[in-house]
Symmetry: C2
Subunit: 303 residues, 2 copies
């Protein structure tokens, strides 16, 4: 397989684009594609300050790298969740530190959940969600902290490393139950609905997982290979596997699923779904919340 641009040996063949590229042109292509997505979905401009949620994995570190290469003001946020199993959180943080140390101007901050609030996410889950997996809770905690840091630091947008495989797995899950409210909200950009809630953007939303992984490897970014121990056997991974079977049979199926979904929404599917987004401010922390009184995050620590 040869690079379509220069004829050198290709490092990757992207069947959905009928495009094979060598290392050099692939390392150019990823930022180009990212820039296109940023413009197409109006994610942010060169003057915006971007908070990149970094986990130490291939997606978020590649995203941070690409945003810096594109000249954006992108700072990192690492949320230390206190996942001990296999030293997961500590190792992840080391990858983030190593990444930032190797790049001038790559600044990041760490929020340590246990140090800040008294319990790690697994501990919190054991106390409040006895026996259940901490994943839903972890999502809540991360969203809260991202929003709070973005607000307090005056960032214009929160960027996450979600790739197309992540998005179509969620899309599949929402579609299999026709959760029209969730479907109406699933998008490459979630606009800010309150002055204390920053816009959320996913610049890698059209890149396949194998492409973000390949980018990290070719670019020499070291990242944590293990996935979160709680994600093993998850429904999301099950859907990813199903969708890969589909992709194997029809290259481009995943991308087509997502893009045609966005197009159907643009044409008004699910537009009848009204959201009454009357937001209150939490009595304790002041962050926006749907119900009056304490927000869901503060309620966790009150119990």
């Amino acid at each position: 397989m040869k690079c379509r641009k220069c004829g050198a040996v290709a490092v990757i063949n992207m069947r959905q684009h009928k495009l094979a590229l060598c290392d050099e042109h692939f390392l150019e292509w990823i930022p180009q594609q990212t820039q296109r997505a940023i413009r197409k979905y109006r994610m942010f401009g060169p003057r915006d300050r971007i908070l990149v949620a970094v986990s130490g994995g291939k997606d978020s570190l590649s995203l941070w790298d690409v945003l810096l290469r594109l000249g954006y003001q992108a700072e990192g946020l690492y949320i230390h969740l206190g996942i001990d199993s296999g030293g997961y959180s500590d190792s992840s943080l080391e990858y983030v530190e190593r990444f930032a140390a190797a790049r001038e101007g790559a600044r990041f901050r760490v929020v340590d959940v246990k140090a800040e609030y008294g319990q790690s996410v697994p501990e919190l889950a054991r106390r409040t969600h006895r026996g259940r997996k901490p994943c839903a809770l972890c999502g809540l905690v991360k969203r809260y902290i991202m929003n709070r840091v973005a607000y307090e630091g005056g960032y214009d947008a929160i960027a996450t490393g979600h790739n197309l495989d992540d998005e179509v797995a969620v899309l599949m899950q929402n579609t299999l139950r026709w959760q029209t409210g969730y479907l109406a909200r699933q998008a490459p950009v979630l606009p800010s609905t309150h002055p204390k809630l920053a816009r959320k953007v996913k610049p890698f939303v059209r890149l396949y997982e194998r492409e973000t992984a390949a980018y990290a490897i070719v670019r020499g970014i070291e990242y944590i290979y293990d996935e979160c121990p709680y994600a093993v056997g998850s429904t999301t991974n099950f859907y990813k596997e199903l969708l890969n079977q589909l992709e194997g049979r029809s290259p481009g199926a995943k991308l087509g699923f997502y893009l045609s979904f966005l197009e159907a929404k643009r044409q008004g599917a699910f537009s009848q779904t009204k959201e009454a987004l009357e937001l209150n401010e939490c009595e304790k922390c002041g962050q926006p919340t749907t119900a009056p009184g304490l927000c869901a995050f503060c309620r966790l620590w009150e119990r």
Copy 2:
């Protein structure tokens, strides 16, 4: 496993309903469920004359059996497609004949495509669709003949044996490309949109394929086990396999996918999809057609 109703040995366990039944109660349960679907989706009443499209397979023969047991005026229509491979069409017809011969009042008619129009479906496909599978063409031919026979015979509705697995495979296919026009039209009942087009109904739409198969077996209905030779390896079968993986992981997933889809439509999803259904009558045969001039069926034979 014991029958929930009488404690006898169960012949089937339907995990999505948490319901195991013995042969006797299962043979009661299927017509009850069918009757419920007929009422819920307002398919037809006891005075309506129903044309059942019978292929000789488990679904359509079970459907015909159930409709007769429920006291409906259900007559069969067998369309002889002229599929020679393994004597498929001839064998299928024999199963239909045997079924009808064993039941008083089970009348049916045969339309032989080659005898009536000069070429079998595979021959027609070879002439007009060189090399491609005849499946799309076959669908067109069957729809045309069903409509025509229903109109000429004065039937109120055309009933087909589509089961839930058939429906969710199509739903998956339409959803993966977000074909909102098709999604808007996919339903247990297709109302008549023209005096010459009968209502189309699918009374088995909430039954899993394994249930219609079990019904045929327990009821002693002999049916053709082989599927159409052209269906082997089809996209539909591939989706059925994916959906069965899903069902294996979450019993009820297939049913939930379909019912929540209907509910989302009821709440207005895809309602923005306007269909300009201005129908003309074909210059040659008089059947309704979207374009002026000849209908798609008559055009096939003109080439």
